[in-house]
Symmetry: C3
Subunit: 345 residues, 3 copies
């Protein structure tokens, strides 16, 4: 059985004006196309307005200028997308198990775990670990010695958290991610081989951070790798040793920061964007998809060096060959320019 809310409850929570019947029962959240009479939907992008007319939704979040286009309950918002985002917490499908420590979990006698946590099957909690109130630790995840989690963290399944990782509150880590593995530190041994540099720093993570699946944050070589508060990381992200991410940094899938770089607040790295090591990025820098930051950036704005025009592969190959002549092309043009000018004389 699904719980139904009164439309007015949702409007109150979102602090939105309601037009229509406040008692309409709402038990789900769906797209305009899929929504039925007991679902709420939203219009965040004008190009979906056309769907409004035929939608079967019982209620819709939309902006004032469009409210007259929908005949049933309207929740009028200045920012329908943000209102929708906030509302999703009412319809969470992820398991929210009761406080319980599963009998198969292995918890060091030396760990401190708040009494209202959920610790899943076969989770392993090391010595000296501290876990705050209301945390969820998924099945088969491991938390290494002396690491700490603030309150309200959610660690999904098969997550690996090494030793000496300090997390703030409300940090989420999705399945398969690894936090605190050794940074990639080796010195040439002068004989063709590599001397391991043991990574003796840790990792510090702020509050309200979300880390996707199969992502990695390496521990510091000396001193810590630091992730600011409000940071959001997608899947397959890589944060190398001693990186420092400012607050609210967003990194889409495969985005990566090489060792010791410092990223300002509110920077956004699109998918597969990368930053070389030992650089500094100012606040509010955006890096477009697949671009590579090869030098420090002191001014906020959007930067690129990737995404050439997509074309049929045969045409691409002809243009790509031309690339190898770019340096000579410019100098040939210079020479031709000069010659024709002199012949004009």
């Amino acid at each position: 059985m699904k719980t139904a809310y009164r439309a007015a409850e949702l409007a109150d929570f979102l602090e939105l004006e309601l037009r229509g019947c406040p008692d309409t029962p709402i038990s789900g959240l769906a797209t305009l196309e899929d929504a039925g009479a007991s679902d709420i939907s939203f219009v965040a992008n004008p190009r979906y307005l056309a769907l409004l007319k035929d939608s079967g939704a019982g209620a819709v979040i939309l902006s004032a200028e469009h409210a007259d286009r929908f005949p049933r309950v309207c929740l009028v918002s200045h920012n329908p997308y943000l209102s929708y985002a906030k509302l999703t917490q009412w319809f969470v499908t992820a398991p929210q198990p009761a406080r319980e420590i599963h009998s198969s979990a292995v918890i060091s006698s030396d760990a401190v775990v708040a009494s209202d946590c959920y610790i899943g099957p076969c989770a392993v909690i090391g010595a000296g670990v501290s876990i705050g109130s209301g945390c969820y630790i998924g099945a088969n995840s491991t938390i290494g010695e002396r690491s700490s989690l603030g309150s309200g963290c959610r660690i999904e399944s098969n997550v690996t958290i090494y030793h000496d990782v300090a997390m703030g509150c409300q940090v989420t880590v999705h399945g398969g991610s690894v936090i605190g593995a050794d940074g990639f530190g080796f010195a040439p041994d002068g004989d063709g081989g590599w001397q391991k540099i043991h990574q003796i720093g840790g990792v510090k993570i702020g509050d309200r951070v979300e880390i996707g699946a199969c992502s990695t944050i390496d521990r510091g070589a000396i001193g810590d790798t630091v992730i600011g508060s409000g940071v959001i990381l997608d899947n397959h992200v890589q944060i190398a040793h001693n990186v420092r991410l400012g607050d609210n940094v967003a990194m889409a899938a495969y985005a990566a920061i090489a060792g010791s770089s410092v990223i300002g607040d509110n920077c956004v790295l699109a998918g597969d964007a990368a930053v070389y090591g030992h650089l500094q990025l100012a606040d509010r820098v955006q890096v477009t998809a697949r671009s590579t930051v090869t030098k420090s950036i002191t001014e906020s704005g959007s930067y690129s060096n990737a995404a050439l025009p997509l074309m049929k592969s045969g045409r691409w190959r002809r243009n790509a060959v031309g690339f190898a002549q770019l340096a000579t092309l410019a100098s040939r043009l210079d020479a031709l320019d000069k010659r024709t000018r002199s012949s004009d004389d």
Copy 2:
């Protein structure tokens, strides 16, 4: 001890003409170079024909035109590579354990598991899960609430399957992969921060799908992420929320599809190829390695925007500098063209 088959048994299975002694015992499958008298090998590529003469193989799968070049058993095929592919199932080395539920597995009393499944040590099966006949669930893997697997699925070790993931039959998932983690959905909160959009959709996967290691398929934001039947995904692949992959799509390592894009049947994405979000690809589109699809493609064919000519790094740097003048190069050429024409007059 290895099991030996009669060469004729293999020919019958593959429905191929056999030339030579049908009773030749075959106990292994090897390359032409490594094969011994009790091994079968194959020639799929003419450039390896030269190895045929000196091969010690007891039998070889090859095409009719080359059958006279090998003195022992020949299995004559129109498509030796496909015949070899089919034959590999006779020589599988992966463990095929007996039906068993390991005593350390943790299975919800509310899950339904077919009686002939193998459930490995410390595997965790949530409430409401349904697992069909003949499935293999590897050690330390987890399957979340209400997820379902059809018959004959093979989930390797340390795999994370979240809640509400519906798989068809004969789906294989390799180690470390994560299916159903939250999509990367956040709304700007107007104050520099990010409002989490809880991802309330699920994942639907067809039949005969293979998913490599450390790959991720995110759950839908609203509605499902959908993977067609016969899809093959390599390692480190990323499928974002609400993507729809058609049947028989192939994606090599690191290939990625951003949110809500729809990929037609029989598309092939080479390694590290990517598709932006909210796009549509027609059936039978090929994207070459590392290329990025930035707009919808309505016509089948091969598309590229990556793989510039490889060169010594010094020469590369000179050409790369030229790239920054590309826009001016074209306009300079225009101007020069115009000027010299007018001076001709």
Copy 3:
């Protein structure tokens, strides 16, 4: 309580000349900025020399020419970075648990495990596995049938090692990595679908290999994938089936080798560098970040085809458009050159 060493002990271990008080107690290793009186630090890069004067360190590893700039203990080295690297092993923070097989570990009665190993909680060791002296197997890791580890290996948590993987001594594998999953082998079935090629080879790994987190090394299709000794791999690395890596190869994050390629000794692939399949690289080839090797390389040296100049996104787009005219640009220049020459006549 931290253990303190006499500065002279460290100098003896590193075989370095000590200047200053040999009895200075040293209990930690820190950067010049963070070091206190009981810490040792180092100067490997001249640009940090300025920090030497104000550093609170009790001892510093530096080169002879700079030793007069530091008033307390100096350890004089020809290669301070290498000396620092060697010293890190005195200050390891990673847990080094006593020999123990945790009661929740699941070990086949048919496996052979040296008596001085640590096997963590919920680790799963298959039939026919052999584990050498002094190995560490982290929590929730699995080792498949017939695989073998030499002495002194360290397998962190949530690692998946499939069957028939043979590792040498002192191999480290970080969390979430997967070794021996199936290579991406499928034959077109002639009907739009894919015929699975069961991967019946294994993986062979040399001595002193380090493998980062969330990396994958696939098993061979027929015959083995082979990793040389002294190889170092960062996170998110992909090694496809039947690849052969020479000794001391280094691959940074996301670097990848496609199937059957052979990489010479001492090659270095920077972050996200890739090598196509069926190629050969000579010894001592360097591939710069994000470059793609599309043909075999017979001569050592540094190669590139990535990292165009970074610029503001608007300017990038104008130059990128020019790229699509590259092929015609060159021919237009040719024509113009010819025309103006003829008009000169």
